[in-house]
């Protein structure tokens, strides 16, 4: 059984990689389309991190953009000002950003539910202000421009050109790796624990799960994904500014997870694939962009609490259940304490 699953998984990842490379190559002729695909890949990576945090652990964090920003600014600083290799700067600044994220978020992680959301929002606002008011590190609200793309030397390939579809392929594989990390965590013991925390953190505590420890671990891993995404965003677009990493970005990433379907592997990918291209394709309708987004947020919360993929899954299960006339297991949910 396990071996079958492993081989099935293997095929899934291989076809995923093939799809990613295929998409990157198919759009290589059109650099606008390629750019959209590249941004979608970045968002898949970000939403994978958010999914681990929000979808599986139940933590609604509004500071994810800030962490991505630290990763981006850190990488750019090491890469441009200190002359580090980009490929060395990314892991260093990503670990640094995740550590900063955990240190900032640690006290907040003790807080439950809404207070965590609020604290993370406050931290996000503070980080945006730091990006603006410390121009010696960030160049202030005007941002850093003309960030060059790094080169890459692969054994067997020699120097790889990253100005063309090469970079989109890297972004796609990165996104795939991010999703795989989340998938493996969910399949592990840790996955069972964090889902238990999401369902009822008090009960999880009673069952002997070290809730804060797991929350911190999840927060660190998701911050890592955010920061890596931020670093690649910087060199991919060639430009970063405080507005690239503001609270709106945190909200958008959250929205993609909620829209696609929280707590499912495919949901956030679907959410990113649908939502990311919209503003690019509707460039001319910029005036209604905010209204459209706001309405979408409300609509998802009211009508599709499980998201697009979640709703499909539910519908599918109900259908299958009717066919099998099997009894659905009903979770015992404790009454909310008043």
């Amino acid at each position: 059984m396990n071996r079958m699953r492993a081989s099935k998984d293997m095929w899934l990842w291989i076809s995923g990689a093939a799809l990613v490379i295929g998409l990157a190559l198919a759009t290589a002729g059109n650099r606008f389309a390629a750019f959209i695909i590249g941004i979608v890949f970045l968002n898949v990576l970000w939403t994978a991190g958010m999914n681990l945090l929000y979808g599986y652990t139940g933590l609604v964090s509004m500071m994810t953009a800030g962490v991505a920003g630290i990763g981006a600014y850190g990488t750019v600083k090491l890469f441009l000002d200190y002359g580090w290799s980009f490929w060395f700067a990314v892991p260093v600044s990503a670990v640094g950003a995740a550590a900063v994220g955990v240190i900032l978020g640690l006290p907040a992680l003790r807080l439950r539910g809404f207070y965590f959301v609020l604290s993370s929002l406050v931290i996000q606002v503070a980080l945006t202000l730091v990006f603006i008011y410390f121009p010696q590190f960030t160049n202030g609200d005007t941002g850093i421009t003309q960030i060059p793309r790094p080169g890459l030397w692969l054994p067997g390939f020699g120097a790889v050109d990253l100005t063309g579809p090469g970079f989109e392929i890297i972004l796609g594989l990165l996104a795939l790796a991010g999703v795989a990390v989340v998938y493996m965590i969910i399949r592990s013991r840790m996955g069972a624990f964090i889902i238990a925390i999401r369902e009822d953190d008090l009960l999880a505590e009673e069952l002997g799960i070290d809730v804060t420890r797991y929350k911190v671990m999840v927060f660190f891993i998701s911050s890592l994904l955010m920061a890596v995404g931020g670093a690649f965003y910087a060199v991919y677009t060639g430009f970063i500014s405080p507005r690239s990493f503001d609270v709106l970005m945190s909200m958008n990433i959250w929205l993609m997870v909620a829209f696609g379907g929280r707590g499912t592997i495919a949901g956030p990918i679907i959410g990113s694939a649908i939502l990311v291209p919209i503003p690019f394709l509707l460039q001319e309708l910029y005036q209604i962009k905010d209204i459209f987004y706001g309405s979408l947020i409300i609509l998802v919360t009211v009508a599709m609490p499980a998201g697009v993929y979640g709703t499909i899954l539910k519908w599918w299960r109900v259908r299958r259940q009717k066919q099998n006339t099997a009894v659905a297991p009903v979770a015992i949910k404790r009454m909310p304490a008043e």
């Binding site: 809404f114 609020l118 209604i288 905010d290 209204i291 987004y293 706001g294 309405s295």
Partner: protein, 293 residues
């Protein structure tokens, strides 16, 4: 020449009072809604801006007298809030984690309203002045205070007083506080909790509208005030204790005076950052706020 220290001291006092009263009023509106319904209204800043924008249009484009415009906005605010409650807010009354759901939904409202603002009022002007109710300047000792700002201050203090007395002694106010303190016990005493929710939403939203209108009487405003006031009101609510009107009063006034004092002794930027810091520290050390209910 008058002693500059006296002038600065008086300006500190009046600034602290005006800002503090408006902060306190707005935060009181936010905290009433949160305390009662458990609805953290992320769109409160947009509501705060919406009211004076409409009043601006009525008084400049339509030529209404400013008093009439302000009154009309306050009255029109009620059906607006009522519709919102009917269509959206009440859907979540029975959701267990409704504060998070509400937060997200009101973030959506924030997006919609700011989108609406930028394609309507944002197209018409980039700053707004409601014509003054009264011209001229009142001298407090040597310090000149514009009559209009004095009216705004008196209005804010009067509303705060009325709010405080009403919550303390009126039957509805008592029921509202009862729901804050013990939802279920209130229901068992015969309080129709859903009606109180509706009442709290109408009251809180109207108070936020009033705060915005008074602000617009005291200052020129633009679209960016929504964001800064939304954050400030939230900060006051969190530091004061969510659901505590007394907390909103005390901390609101405190924030006003802190802004005034820090501006003198440090810099206006330091004052803004000090709010965020205070909010974070309180959240981490004492999430229920200084005036826990």
């Amino acid at each position: 020449m008058v002693d500059p220290n006296l002038l600065i001291g008086l300006s500190m006092l009046t600034t602290g009072l005006v800002l503090g009263a408006i902060f306190a009023l707005t935060a009181a509106g936010v905290t009433i809604v949160y305390g009662c319904i458990w609805l953290p209204n992320a769109a409160s800043g947009q509501f705060f801006l919406l009211a004076p924008l409409v009043a601006w249009s009525l008084s400049t484009a339509m030529g209404w007298s400013p008093i009439l415009a302000v009154a009309a906005v306050l009255i029109a605010g009620l059906p607006f809030a009522y519709l919102l409650e009917r269509l959206l807010i009440r859907r979540f009354y029975d959701v267990p984690d409704r504060n998070i759901a509400y937060f997200v939904v009101t973030l959506g409202i924030t997006q919609i309203l700011s989108g609406v603002f930028s394609i309507t009022w944002g197209q018409w002007s980039d700053q707004y002045n409601i014509p003054p109710l009264a011209e001229g300047v009142v001298f407090i000792g040597p310090f000149p205070l514009p009559a209009n700002r004095l009216i705004a201050l008196v209005g804010a203090l009067a509303l705060l007083g009325a709010l405080f007395v009403g919550l303390r002694y009126h039957r509805f106010g008592r029921a509202l506080r009862a729901v804050f303190q013990n939802r279920e016990a209130a229901a068992l005493r015969g309080v129709d909790v859903q009606r109180i929710y509706l009442g709290a939403f109408l009251l809180g939203t109207s108070v936020i509208f009033a705060g915005g209108l008074l602000y617009a009487m005291a200052y020129s405003f633009d679209l960016s005030v929504a964001w800064s006031m939304g954050i400030t009101a939230f900060a006051i609510m969190i530091v004061g204790g969510p659901g505590s009107v007394l907390g909103a009063l005390v901390v609101g006034m405190l924030f006003g005076f802190v802004q005034a004092a820090v501006s003198v002794f440090a810099s206006p930027t330091a004052a803004t950052l000090s709010y965020l810091l205070a909010m974070l520290v309180i959240l981490l050390l004492r999430p229920s706020g200084l005036f826990a209910r």
